[in-house]
Symmetry: C2
Subunit: 216 residues, 2 copies
């Protein structure tokens, strides 16, 4: 596809390195998938996982709208992490620190069972590292009941913006306090189900807590 | 506008009370605005503020794409808060707790200066409560240089989904640990600019920290 021309209008906050895209994507778990249905915007928040040059998304095969998106419609995945409220000397100059990514492309359903199993393992592993080894393998029925889609990452079809730092300098000194209010996501202590009460928290869950999530 | 027909397909996680929409919107500061440009999805993360039955969005009048969106194109604002990773007895049943909202409509630019000033005051007040009283009033030039748009909230043109609780019951007992990993956003101690070092943190900033942000 051709990226909308707006994608090429890069401002000072734009980042051009592919590694910066990966960093923004890998810091989050949830994004907004957008497509066009009957000329109208159609959006749904989804868990996503980057796997090399593709982004994996999954859902029930019963989800009608997802099926539409999977059928080759143009799509965009948007991810944003809010890192701070930036308090300037004026409301006009106040701002926010953030990291955002938008990946444009066409979603392609992964139709073969083996490809789907591999993709679902990647998804599971990204969300709960090593969880696959702690539970029974996915059954053929489970693999069949899950729709997995991939959005390939192509050069020139993504946009990353990052704002960091404090507020800009005022034109003339004011008495107003200026600075930032940092925001971050914390993963709290895992809460067991009643049936797992007292059991040790498994490695996959401990690793999820350790890695944290930086999306706000 | 007519909401896409998918908006009416409500599952068990859907919430129908307007107060639930307001709660999801008010818990966050940043969302994804989606529209359609030349038949393609076009998306941008934005700060937003709910003000009664309208959602306010703002940006520079120089932002070309924002101008397009403001010119009556159909739009959708998506907000999602990720509250927990839900660890089930199988990867298939693992899930996430979240609160999400999508508001469909048409963005309308607020063109008159007084309406824009009122709207910008609402935006400032929602992000930094009472900040207006701590800084000089917005100048006419600043009001003129800011584009403010409103997206009206109409019944039947929004969608809220909420998942809470733990994983579902397995069909038969397994040895796997199950439970949730709670995620939440924290606002850390405000960090002053060098020029405000040692000065007391103003009430607006303290209130921002106190209220917190629940969007992840």
């Amino acid at each position: 596809m051709t990226a909308p021309r707006t994608i090429r209008r890069l401002g000072e906050r734009s980042r051009r390195e592919r590694a910066e895209l990966d960093a923004v994507l890998d810091a989050g778990l949830v994004g907004t998938l957008s497509t066009v249905v009957d000329g109208q915007p159609w959006v749904v928040p989804m868990l996503y996982v980057r796997d090399g040059d593709r982004i994996l998304l999954h859902g029930s095969t019963g989800a009608g709208a997802l099926r539409h998106v999977a059928a080759g419609a143009p799509a965009a995945l948007s991810v944003v992490h809010l890192d701070a409220v930036v308090v300037a000397h004026s409301t006009f100059d106040s701002s926010a620190n953030y990291r955002s990514a938008v990946v444009y492309g066409t979603l392609r359903p992964i139709l073969d069972a083996e490809g789907r199993r591999v993709a679902l393992t990647r998804v599971s592993d990204a969300i709960l590292p090593g969880r696959e080894a702690e539970v029974e393998p996915m059954s053929a029925r489970e693999v069949a009941a899950t729709q997995v889609m991939q959005l390939e990452v192509h050069e020139g079809e993504w946009l990353v913006k990052v704002r960091t730092g404090g507020p800009g300098e005022p034109e003339r000194p004011t008495g107003a306090w200026t600075g930032v209010v940092p925001l971050r996501v914390v993963a709290d202590e895992p809460v067991p189900d009643p049936r797992s009460a007292g059991e040790p928290v498994p490695a996959s869950v401990r690793e999820r807590v350790r890695r944290g999530v930086s999306a706000v």
